[in-house]
Chain length 189, copies 2
DNA sequence: ATCAAATTTCACAAATTACTGAAAATTCAA
DNA sequence: TTGAATTTTCAGTAATTTGTGAAATTTGAT
């Protein structure tokens, strides 16, 4: 790996993190390399920089592409394919979240809904269903909320996050003026 | 696995999900089994129900304990250790998030901060640092926000999530009355 | 159309991770 | 204490995942 120590530590750390998140270590490293790179890189450059085989890089890029985490482009007068990551970290984060939702959360909700449609044949199943319902509702509420929040622009989102738990005051205030601002009335449970 | 089809499908799905989330498949299944179980289970019961070796269950419980995801208790007149999951799904979710933050996010922030303290020796490092700074700020803001939101009780949280992107209106309103309600003045950027 | 450059595929080897059974350690009732 | 019940550890094997090189395919300039 002929990278500066700075980039190297980032790349290695990212590889480890990928591991914890169910992503192949080398794929994590490839992503990290692209993320900090000044300019788009082709597969040979990546293989060279990271010390991987060319075929491994090809597989990794395929994987990253399926996650919509890399952009493919061509440089004038060069036949090779160059890869880069989107510039906006918030957009990256959003893509990642969308993709994980699609691949992991949605199938889980589907499974839970299926299970909840069954007629429980004994007390154990009845209890299991009740537990599954609790889990379903939590996941459903969380992901719906997440989807909804994606409508906001990044600056609004940042402001809201900085506000943090202080938004609570909005609820207290709103409860006193329920029809204020024309929204539908929302109360606790 | 001598479980009802309902529980079995839940357990198997959870095992697969665990896999995607960097958790051993069998550990995921153990957790799922405890989660839907009516009463606490001992290790032998779990080994029997899931068809794992006793030692594998022991390892899995150790892992789940380190994540603070299972509770240990003793039944009167029985020497064996019985395990269960907390009843409140929101508390479970919170524990999981806290633990992941501690294990994965915090070390990443530490690494990024370290990298940002270095003096870049070339343009490539300079660019890499800028990118790392962007990532740092996003992670930092997100986790600080998350920590802050944990102060709220579950009902408030649910209400807020149901409100979703409508909280935006709070910002618009607040901007017109900056010193309203005694909070420090918060504006975009 | 041809062919060299570039990329992908895939069977296999290497490396890692998961699981087991046996043995060791711990616990606790008598 | 003792020893049976219970839990944990761990070395070895099984299973899975990862990474490679060679071959096949695709691409696009001529």
């Amino acid at each position: 790996m002929n990278l500066t120590p700075l980039v190297q530590s980032f790349v290695l750390h990212f590889g480890e993190m990928g591991n914890h998140w169910g992503i192949n270590r080398t794929v994590g490293q490839m992503y990290a390399l692209l993320y900090v790179s000044e300019k788009p890189l082709n597969a040979d450059e990546m293989a060279e920089a990271l010390g991987f085989s060319r075929s491994n890089v090809s597989m990794g890029l395929k994987e990253l592409t399926s996650w919509r985490l890399v952009k493919l482009q061509h440089l004038p007068g060069d036949r090779r394919e160059y890869y880069s990551t989107p510039e906006d970290v918030w957009a990256i984060f959003q893509t990642l979240a969308e993709e994980r939702k699609k691949r992991e959360v949605d199938p889980t909700l589907t499974m839970l809904r299926g299970a909840l449609l069954e007629t429980p044949s004994n007390p154990a199943d009845e209890h299991a269903q009740a537990r599954m319902a609790e889990m379903h509702d939590l996941i459903d509420l969380t992901t719906s909320w997440f989807t909804d929040m994606q409508r906001l622009d990044v600056d609004t989102l940042k402001t809201l996050m900085k506000l943090g738990s202080q938004v609570q005051k909005f609820l207290e205030f709103k409860q006193k003026l329920p029809t204020f601002m024309g929204g539908s009335e929302i109360t606790k449970e």
